[in-house]
Every structure is written in C-alpha cells, then in structure tokens.
C-alpha cells in the first residue's frame, strides 16, 4: 500500500485586497436562458416569415414598440425589487399623454409637451409614494386607487376624443429622417433609460437601498436606512419612467388618448417576472426585465406577421409566463 506522499498542494490563489475586483456584468444562467429564448424566437420568426421578419423595417418596428413598455418596465422593476408593486403605470401613461397633448399644452411646443408628460408622471408617482411610504397604505391598494382615478381624469380631460398632436418637432422624432444610424430616437431613449437604470441599480447607494428594503425592510430600518424615504423615491422613479414613456407614446402615435397604456401594468409586471425579478422583492435585474420586454414584443410581432389573432397571442403570453416561472423555480432550487 503506497500512501501518496503528501502531495504538494497547488498554491490556492488567495484573493487579497489588491486582487481582482468582482466584475460588473456577470451573465448568470437565468439571463443566458432568456437570451436563448429570444434567440429561439428570432429563429422561429426568421423561418416562418423569412422575408418580412428580419427586414430592417420590422426590426426597427419591434424595438420601437418595445421602447414604450420597456421604459415603464425599468421603473416597475425597481418598485418590485423593493417589495412593492405599481398597478397605476398604465393609467399614469394615459393621463400624462393626454395632459401633455391638450391644446393649451401644445401651445408651448416640444418643451411644453415633454415637460408636462414628465411632471404629470412624477406627480402621480409622488402621490403614490406619499400614500404608501407615509400614509401606510399597501402598495397594491394605493396604486389601484391611482389606476382608477388616473384613468378617470384622463377621460375627463379628453372627453373620450383623440388629441392629435400638431407640433412638428415632436412628430418628426418618430419619422425616418430622425433615425440616427438607422436607430429610431425612441429606441435610443429606451436604451439610455436601460443603461441608467442598470447603473442606478448596481452602482449606486440608491440601488442598494432599494434591494435592501425589498429583501428585508425591518433589517434595512434597523441598519439605519430611511425605509420610508426610499419607498417614496421608488414610486417617484416609477412615475418618472411613466412620464417618459408617455412622451414616447405621443411621438409614436402622434396623439394623446385616454385609452393609452391599457394593461401596461400587467405587461410590465409580466416582463419583470419572467426576467427573474422576485415578486416578493429583494432580487431582480434590469437586464432580465428588458429581455422580458423584448421577448414579449417579438412574440407579438411574429404572431402578427403570421396573421394569428390576438387571442392566440394572449394565450401564448400566459403560457410563457408560467413556463418561465417554472424554469426559474427549478434553477433556483438546484443552485441553492
């Protein structure tokens, strides 16, 4: 019997303070699987409609459509990570879009429209935030109330009529001439919001505090975080995103309507959830949410190109949400 003479252990690389820092972007299994789903969808689209799907115009269309709901979803992701929910995003988009397109606002031109959309969004977020953070209301109830009254107010402003935009500088943003290197400006806004959202979540104290509040609000409070103020800020942020999204929608549609943003709350929540954000808070990524948005938008596009009715689309959406959550449950139980 030969005992292996105590083998020289390979020098284990000890991490030292001077050693490598954790890298910022580490795509995990979950993100990669979402990328895989998206790639598969592109493949399906390319096979079923080889001519029209991969056409530049179509790709631009998909990304443009993703932009509006995408911006909303970034804000929603922050709220859900912090353990909250914002059911009022669709109503805020509608209210901001009609308020920003009244005859009186349009008199102030481009700046007036943009300013109004953002201020209305932030204002609604402020009301949500105050009710939840300082009024002690459950987010579900407070934002449900905002959903109802926001839609009501939007209807009151428009009287149910479409408010056509006559400000050229706004309309031009949606035209082909405004594309920068083939990219629509709306998509650039979406990209910018995504990047800023990612940085805020991963690189700032604001992001950390949001995650801490969602992960364990009591622990965050006892660690000295001002939980209530953080919650207020989060709903302000969601409102801001809605305001930006409303402006994008105005550019895209060339009008403001009280029916805008219908069911955005559900689309944004669904995108965040399939992107891996925990509905109970404490965990989530901007990357995942944005991939979720792109997946949903691409499916809608493929179905439209193949002349499938929207009822089939909705069924498929539901199935995807279920499948994504089941897969995530499996991966999370095997890795922990």
């Amino acid at each position: 019997m030969t005992q292996p003479a105590s083998p020289a252990r390979p020098a284990t690389p000890k991490t030292t303070p001077a050693g490598p820092r954790p890298r910022g972007f580490r795509p995990d299994v979950r993100t990669l699987s979402l990328v895989g789903v998206l790639a598969a969808l592109v493949l399906i689209g390319g096979i079923t409609q080889p001519d029209s799907f991969l056409d530049t115009n179509n790709v631009q269309l998909i990304l443009t459509q993703a932009s509006v709901i995408g911006v909303v979803t970034v804000g929603m992701t922050f709220v859900i990570i912090s353990g909250g929910i914002d059911l009022s995003v669709g109503a805020i988009v509608a209210l901001a879009s009609v308020w920003a397109t009244t005859v009186a606002t349009q008199d102030y031109g481009f700046a007036g429209i943009l300013f109004t959309a953002v201020v209305v969004g932030v204002g609604c977020g402020l009301v949500n935030g105050l009710l939840i953070a300082y009024g002690g209301m459950v987010p579900f109830i407070a934002t449900l109330a905002m959903l109802a009254s926001g839609r009501g107010l939007a209807l009151q402003i428009t009287d149910g009529k479409t408010q056509t935009v006559s400000v050229d500088s706004v309309l031009k943003l949606g035209e082909r001439d405004a594309y920068i290197l083939g990219i629509p400006p709306l998509v650039l806004v979406f990209a910018a919001v995504t990047v800023v959202g990612w940085l805020v979540l991963n690189r700032t104290t604001f992001g950390r505090r949001s995650v801490a509040v969602g992960g364990n609000a009591e622990a965050a409070r006892l660690a000295g975080i001002d939980v209530r103020r953080q919650r207020l800020y989060l709903y302000l942020l969601s409102g801001l995103c809605c305001g930006i999204a409303a402006f994008l929608l105005i550019v895209l549609a060339g009008s403001g309507q009280n029916t805008n943003g219908n069911l955005y709350e559900l689309d944004a929540i669904a995108a965040a959830i399939i992107g891996g954000t925990l509905l109970t808070g404490g965990r989530g990524t901007i990357t995942g949410s944005v991939l979720g948005v792109l997946i949903f938008t691409t499916i809608t596009n493929i179905f439209a190109l193949n002349n499938l009715q929207s009822d089939v689309q909705e069924i498929a959406k539901g199935a995807i949400i279920v499948a994504a959550v089941l897969v995530q449950r499996r991966t999370s139980t095997t890795t922990s």
Partner: protein, 503 residues
C-alpha cells in the same frame, strides 16, 4: 415480562442535500411510553432526522420500522396516519382561524363529507385543551390572539386530535417561561403515562435530566451515542459527545482596572408604557454591561427603545452629551449606536445578499460619492472588518445565508465595526450559535470593548451574562431590581432575584 418490540426503529438513515450529507447512517430507537431526548449542536442533523420521521423528507438510505413492521413514510399525512405527530419550533398554525379550526385543520369532522360540524370540533377541542391543562383557551378564539405558549398548546392539541403514539417536540421550551415549562412537563408526563412516546429536542441539559428517559446524541450527521440513560450520564460526557471535545464556556479575562472614561451613553428615566419602568443607565467606553432577566422582563424592549426602534414614553437617551431624537433609528445610528438584534435573520440580515453587502449596508455613504458607489473601496473595507473578526469563510461574496449562526453574528458585528460605532447593543448574541463557536464570539465581544466600545448585552443564559459582562443589571417585570459587578454574583443568586425578587 416479555420485552416489547420498540415502537420505532430507524436504522442506517442517510440523507444528502446538494453539497452536504445531513444524515449519515443514523440509528434511533424509541420505546412506547418513554421520553427520548435528541441532543446535538446546530447542524448536527436533528432537524433533518425529525423531518424524515415526520415524512417531510425521504431518506436516501436506511429503514424505518414502526411497531415491528417495515414502513415507508411517504408524506406528512402518511406519518400522521400511523400516529406520528410533530410539533415544530416554528409553529405551523393559521393565525386567522380559530383554535378548533386549527386543531382539526385537514381532518375536520364532517357531515356528508363536506359540511363541517363546527360544534363537534369545538366540543372535542375543549376536551383536548382541558386534558392539556389549558381549559382557559376557548376553542372559538382566533389563534392569532393567543400567546406563544398557548399556541404551542394548540399545536399539541392538534397532535392529540389524531390517534397519536409518538410526538416529536422540537425545542418546545424555547419560548416558554418557567411555569409554562412546568406545565409542559406535566403534559409530557401524562402523555407517557398513556403509553405515548415523546421525542424531545432541547438544548437545555437540565430539562433533559428532569424529564428524559434516554438520550441519543447526534454530531455531524451521525448518532455518536444512542439510548444513554438521561438522568445518570454526566453532563461532561454529554457535552464531550456533542462537541467532540471537552468544552467549558471559556470567557475572556476582564480588564483589571475599571474604565474611568466619561460615559458615552447615558439613559435617563427611559420607559415604555406597559413594557418597562423608568431606567437609568450609564455606559463607559471599554465596559460590558449585561441585562439579566426572564423572557418578558423587558430586556429586548429596553435595547430597542435605546436604539430608537421603539419610541420611548418618557426619558432620554444621551450619547456624548447629545440627546437623541426619540423613535429614530437613524439618529441613533448617526450618534454611534449599533444593534445586533435577537432575530438575526428577520431583523438584521439581508439573506439574499453577500457578506460584503450585509456588512457595508450601514456605511454606504463612506464608499460613495454623490450616491455613486466605489465598490473596490467597499470591498476592501468590508473585508478588513470581517477579517478583524475572523469571519469564516473568508469570502466576501459568499451569500450570508450560507454562513453558520456564529459567522452570521460576526457579519452583523462587522457591520457596526465598519460603521465605527461606539455603543454596541447585543440582544442574545449567541442565540443560534453553536456551543463550540461561542467562546470565540465572547472573545470578539471582549476585544471590541477593549478597543473602546461600550457594550450593552442581553442574554437569557445567566452564565453568559455573568461570564462576559463587567456589570450586571437584573430585571424583573420591566424594572431593574439589582445592580452589581458581575464578579459579585453567581447563577443561583441571579435566578433567585429573577424568580423571586431576591426574597
């Protein structure tokens, strides 16, 4: 008398989870009518073993024999049908339902299969509660309105509502006051007199001496001793089996000279309606002051009120001559207070996050410029703090939930060390910490005090308060009834004070 076959024989039970072998060929034999105690440190495999017994986990290997017959416990329901009931530490009651509804949850007496005969359920529940010595609990009361001790009784009533032959009790005395523990023991005695076997899990050796018949000791997923006589086996032997070495609590030495510095924390007439009477307290740098008292004597409430997590009814907290805004944790933290709360997982840790993020959470402004985090600086600082306390593993990105209890506590301490806090409030600092890891934690706390921190600690373990603190305040029903240097007290004296007010 022919020897009866054992009620339950588990042999060679093995159970692995990804990365851990929780049970490695464990044998357990339980006789009808005995109290069989299960001892072991945290992580020794006790919980896994009782979950196998409850049908909640399936063993990878091994056999279970129940009343002489090989059996497989496929599910909790299967175990219950055989007559095995488990009362978990975290009670699994529905707070929004009544006592009777909880007792009969899942096996309600029904007419025609679905109409619940509520009156029958309430009558039989009342009888069960009376048998348990708690006739005062109304079967119609909402469980959420009951005290923890009463809820435990309801759990037991639920177990007895089945035709039970074996009851597993997981640390049933942990949340109970002494007289409630006495009642618990009476219940256990009456159960065993009826031939029911009890598997009793506890950390408290004196309880095992009082009611136990035999002891099985688990260590690292193995049964290192089975069926020892509970009353005769010397404590030293039991501790040696549990730890694998002879351990006595080792407390660090106290500094020889009493601290002379000006008090850093002064509490003047602080009180909270219905929780504790006006309290005066001075705490100097380098000093450890202990609060001793029973559960419910207001210990945790005092710490949390000083910290601003509860708003004081009267009085002030003064740090360095500056009066803190009452009810503001942020004011307390800014003034240099830090709290390591009793419920670490619920009140202190971000369980989904890494060690670094848990440590840096209270000091983020130090690593950020206009809200922008310098993560390199954060990592270095957090690592310096965790190394200072020898937190294991030495891996800043390890998820904090994977750490042992002792190391989780160190992560909380590192948070305040990094923050540069000056007064540390420790609520049950060794709760959920392995016996073997406690001495190290004591040393850490003493070292922090030697470095100039003032420490105010609360513990329900009297030897811990006496061994670690310099000065002890004894609490009874929300009021300080005694104060003296720890060296002038012993365990009996403290228990006398606590239980009888020193008379």
């Amino acid at each position: 008398m022919a020897p009866e076959p054992p009620l339950l024989t588990m042999s060679g039970i093995t159970k692995s989870f990804p990365g851990v072998r929780a049970l490695d060929g464990v044998d357990l034999e339980v006789l009808a009518g005995e109290v069989h105690c299960l001892l072991g440190q945290n992580g020794a495999g006790k919980s896994t073993l009782i979950k196998v017994l409850a049908g909640a986990h399936q063993p990878d290997d091994g056999t279970i024999t129940w009343r002489g017959e090989r059996t497989v416990l496929k599910s909790p329901i299967a175990a219950m049908r055989l007559g095995i009931a488990t009362i978990y530490q975290e009670l699994d009651l529905v707070e929004g339902l009544s006592v009777a509804e909880n007792v009969y949850l899942g096996h309600e007496p029904t007419t025609a299969g679905f109409v619940v005969r509520g009156r029958d359920a309430r009558t039989t529940t009342a009888a069960l509660l009376k048998r348990l010595g708690h006739g005062e609990i109304g079967p119609g009361t909402l469980v959420g309105d009951l005290s923890a001790a009463q809820q435990q009784i309801v759990s037991m009533a639920r177990a007895l509502s089945h035709d039970v032959r074996l009851i597993v009790m997981d640390e049933p005395s942990a949340a109970l006051d002494p007289d409630e523990v006495d009642n618990l023991f009476r219940i256990v005695d009456s159960l065993t007199a009826d031939g029911v076997a009890v598997v009793y899990i506890s950390h408290r050796l004196e309880e095992i001496r009082r009611i136990g018949d035999r002891v099985t000791v688990l260590k690292d997923g193995r049964a290192v001793a089975g069926g020892l006589p509970a009353k005769e086996t010397p404590t030293r032997d039991v501790v040696a089996l549990m730890t694998g070495r002879n351990v006595e609590y080792v407390f660090p030495e106290r500094p020889t000279a009493p601290p002379l510095a000006e008090p850093v924390l002064t509490v003047k007439g602080l009180s909270r309606q219905g929780e504790f009477a006006p309290l005066d307290l001075e705490l100097r740098p380098g000093e450890i002051v202990g609060l001793a008292g029973l559960v419910g004597s207001g210990r945790s409430e005092i710490l949390e009120t000083i910290y601003g997590a509860r708003k004081a009814s009267t009085g002030q907290v003064v740090v360095d001559g500056q009066v803190l805004r009452p009810g503001s944790v942020r004011a307390a933290v800014r003034a240099g207070l830090g709290l390591a709360p009793e419920e670490r997982k619920a009140q202190a840790l971000l369980m989904l996050e890494s060690v670094t993020r848990n440590v840096s959470v209270s000091s983020m402004s130090r690593f950020s410029y206009g809200g922008w985090l310098d993560r390199g600086k954060e990592l270095d600082a957090a690592r310096a703090a965790t190394r200072e306390l020898s937190l294991r593993p030495d891996n800043p990105s390890a998820p904090v939930r994977t750490l042992s209890g002792g190391n989780q506590q160190k992560a909380v301490l590192a948070r305040w060390l990094l923050r540069g806090c000056r007064v540390l409030l420790l609520d049950e600092p060794t709760r959920g910490v392995d016996v073997g890891a406690r001495a190290e934690l004591y040393a850490v706390i003493r070292r922090l005090a030697d470095d100039g921190l003032a420490v105010l600690m609360v513990s329900s373990e009297v030897p811990e308060v006496l061994g670690l603190a310099d000065r002890v305040l004894v609490l009874r029903e929300g009021a300080v009834i005694h104060e003296s240097p720890a060296a002038d007290l012993d365990e009996h004296r403290v228990l006398d004070l606590v239980l009888a007010g020193g008379r």
